[in-house]
Symmetry: C2
Subunit: 190 residues, 2 copies
DNA sequence: TGCATTAATTGACATTTGTCACACGTATTC
DNA sequence: GAATACGTGTGACAAATGTCAATTAATGCA
């Protein structure tokens, strides 16, 4: 989504330092996964950074009661990884699962950090990605804490309508932090 | 808190590039504020990055119904700013208010970005700060969405006990996303 | 195509948390 | 030091959302 802001950042990198850009992008590999596949399992150390070319994926954990908590959905153009594990190289507490057949490219984590160290421009690229990422997290925090179930649904309707078309309600409700039943009832009265 | 991880990062910067370190730290200015003072008002563009030396501050917004949403508390050693406004230079949707007399240093935003561009090591410094920041945001997201009122309180008790000593219950409850009354009742039965 | 599995809907009811009103004690201030 | 504002505690009640169970709709697979 977001009309390929990631692509724009990559273009910027290319303009700034073509050598760095080429070295970075030439280490991209391609892959694909079917619906239901676990791209990053919980408890494993995450060593790759993914860029989704097509399809949909979800980032999730399990709560204490065994139910699922969905922290984010990823669509075409999105960069994704199990962020905390990627940075810290500890076992991941979040997993990534494909929920619609997907194609993607990926880079090994080491390449990201090596090139960040080698090229200032690559470091800048990642700093800017992180800036966007934390903005999104901050907005989501407010969204989750400050809005009622109905307000959350209206927010999605207005700001992320593609979710409604491409994500099952079961998953959407978990993303909103409400039950399927509540979501179903809200939809009925909208 | 976090036993001055920020200080560690600054030391690292110094070791990597002393010139950059000196240029960065020499543009720090000092300031102080009394309890109740608004360090960063809502709707203003945020142009400074603060490091709290002593005291406590809160980052907050107002919800649609006028009640307060507290996104974070800052203590000695914490870096703080209105993140989204700082990055985007748009009017801030969050404010920062002093809730215990504070001393701090601050750097103009422009210096941060100029030095990030000028020195690779400074860029790395900020990238790492952002990595920590997004990890914290991610954990807070899970905390808010996945836990009940009582679980949230127990989590604070266990992981952020200093909050209980230095933050009024009114503010703490807002941080937890529950009402004062609910917090009061939970405390009674603990 | 048809069977089997999964997702969504719906109703009755339970639970959690919020709201409102008021009492009480503690700071703050003039 | 009295007066005022502010933070906290508590009770009665209301509202929002969750839980459980059953039914229907949709989807995927043989």
């Amino acid at each position: 989504m977001e009309d390929n802001i990631l692509q724009q950042k990559l273009e910027l990198l290319k303009k700034k330092n073509e050598k760095a850009y080429l070295e970075f992008t030439s280490s991209f590999e391609v892959g694909s996964s079917k619906k239901g596949e676990l791209l990053i399992p919980i408890d494993k150390i995450c060593t790759k950074l993914y860029i989704l070319k097509s399809g949909v994926a979800k980032q999730f954990r399990y709560k204490e009661d065994g139910s699922e908590y969905i922290s984010w959905f990823n669509f075409e153009g999105d960069m994704m990884t199990s962020h905390i594990s990627f940075v810290s190289q500890k076992p991941s507490i979040e997993g990534i699962k494909i929920i619609e057949d997907s194609e993607y490219t990926f880079v090994p984590r080491d390449v990201c950090y090596e090139l960040s160290e080698k090229y200032h421009a690559v470091e800048t690229f990642f700093r800017e990605i992180l800036e966007m990422y934390s903005q999104a997290a901050e907005e989501r925090l407010y969204f989750l804490q400050a809005l009622s179930a109905k307000q959350k649904y209206d927010y999605i309707l207005k700001n992320m309508p593609h979710l409604l078309q491409r994500v099952p309600q079961k998953e959407l409700s978990s993303f909103l932090g409400i039950t399927r039943e509540t979501l179903s009832r809200i939809r009925k009265h909208s």
